[in-house]
């Protein structure tokens, strides 16, 4: 697909067509590396972490970006997704959430989360809101890509050295991601630390 980019604030008259290939470009972490882009299930498109003011920490890890309308979620049993929590600002994880996908005999996919505070491994079917025995919530499945950004303009800016964003262009409108969303107790994750550093990883067997 080709998209036309209009320069920021109408500066100049240059129009630039940017090659925009579904399946190879994804979210705020897009084109971050050749290896990641070649492996959509492992290619993290965006990572979100917020607290809701009510004691909950919400974590959302998205991958396999630019899945088209009507497309399918991407599950891979040989991948390990990690969400890591550093409580003392040394860059070393003090607590890990590990997420895997697996199938049953009937071929249905399930999701497993290890690391919900105080809980054993917890699992259940994908595409359903799951509530753990300890009250955390887990969802894994296809969602609308929540990222909004003129990615075409960003690439064009990097390519040309000219600011070429268009605030009317959300490059991710109409596309989907596969998402892992976890909502759990914020204080338990902090474990005495009110400031935490959080990041996500994907790893392959």
């Amino acid at each position: 697909m080709k998209r036309t980019i209009t320069p920021l604030l109408g500066l100049g008259a240059v129009m630039l067509a940017v090659s925009f290939v579904p399946g190879t470009a994804t979210g705020a972490d897009h084109t971050d590396s050749p290896s990641a882009s070649a492996d959509p299930a492992a290619d993290i498109s965006d990572f979100y972490a917020w607290h809701d003011g009510g004691g909950n920490l919400v974590l959302a890890l998205n991958f396999a970006g630019l899945t088209g309308a009507g497309g399918s979620a991407t599950y891979d049993g040989e991948l390990l997704y990690g969400i890591h929590v550093d409580r003392d600002e040394d860059g070393v994880s003090d607590h890990d959430f590990w997420v895997r996908f697996g199938q049953n005999g009937g071929g249905d996919w399930g999701v497993q989360v290890i690391g919900l505070p105080g809980e054993e491994a917890f699992s259940g079917p994908v595409e359903e809101v799951l509530t753990s025995p300890g009250g955390s919530m887990v969802y894994a499945g296809l969602r609308e890509d929540p990222f909004f950004f003129d990615f075409d303009g960003f690439l064009a800016t990097l390519d040309t050295g000219t600011v070429m964003f268009n605030p009317m262009n959300d490059s991710f409108a109409g596309t989907n991601v596969t998402s892992i969303v976890i909502e759990t107790d914020a204080l338990a994750v902090g474990d005495g630390s009110s400031v935490i550093d959080i990041w996500a990883t994907s790893s392959r067997l």
Partner: protein, 246 residues
């Protein structure tokens, strides 16, 4: 300004040789702000693995006829998690390999850091925030931020925006992107860069930090100017918050 200011509060001991190599001259102040971790305890790495091992052990012990790898198992007598899911008939089977057996492919904390200011992209993705704090990527971040300014400052001035000068840009952006994590202060109001919510205009805020003189402009100066201010569809008010797929 940023949630990463909290990093600056910790007094740090810096490995002198490493820092001397990295510091050069003009970026000394900036790097003092950038490199704020305390390269001390490595014990947490062991804890981390121990944590996982415990989990694996626990679950493995509970399985009656354990097999060594999940490929060997069939749907009945299986590894780890089946007891959670099974309420009977057709349990899910998950790999139970130790995390150390996997090779890291990608990582992400802050939005677009790797895309915009990292040169050694694969190496960066396989690495971790401890290396960020150690200063392993400072040189290329400075080089890429500088290159962005060389390319874009004329345009910014043309829009009556005041670009930051190199050392100030690094001082502004460094604490935000090093280490490459989302910093979340649970006692402060939510909103990027205190964590990242679905509705936060993260790209325009990040671009302002990297490109603009924040003594002149606000963090939000570019919001809605460069990129859309909101998603194309509304988010859900309830879990899992992300909208239904297209």
């Amino acid at each position: 300004m940023s949630a990463d200011d909290t990093h600056g509060t910790a007094t740090m001991t810096i490995e002198s040789t490493k820092m001397t190599r990295l510091l050069g001259t003009s970026f000394a102040l900036a790097l003092a702000l950038v490199v704020t971790g305390c390269p001390s305890d490595d014990g947490t790495g062991d804890d981390e693995i121990g944590e996982t091992d415990d989990t694996t052990d626990d679950t493995t012990e509970e399985t009656s006829e354990d097999t060594t790898s999940e490929e060997d198992t069939t749907s009945e007598e299986d590894t780890t998690s089946e007891e959670e899911t099974t309420t009977g008939e057709d349990p899910f089977s998950f790999a139970d390999n130790d995390p150390s057996e996997y090779a890291q492919v990608d990582r992400m904390g802050m939005p677009a850091v790797n895309t915009a200011v990292i040169t050694s992209k694969d190496e960066y993705n396989a690495d971790n925030p401890e290396s960020d704090i150690n200063g392993d990527y400072v040189d290329e971040i400075i080089a890429n931020v500088t290159a962005l300014h060389v390319a874009l400052d004329d345009d910014l001035l043309g829009f009556s925006l005041t670009p930051c000068v190199a050392a100030d840009c690094v001082a502004q952006a460094g604490p935000l992107v090093i280490p490459d994590t989302l910093t979340l202060d649970l006692e402060a109001a939510a909103g990027f860069p205190n964590g990242r919510g679905l509705e936060d205009p993260v790209m325009d805020v990040t671009l302002a930090v990297v490109l603009l003189d924040l003594n002149v402009h606000e963090l939000t100066t570019l919001v809605g100017v460069l990129n859309p201010e909101a998603n194309d569809v509304p988010f859900q008010s309830d879990f899992p918050y992300l909208a239904d797929p297209n």
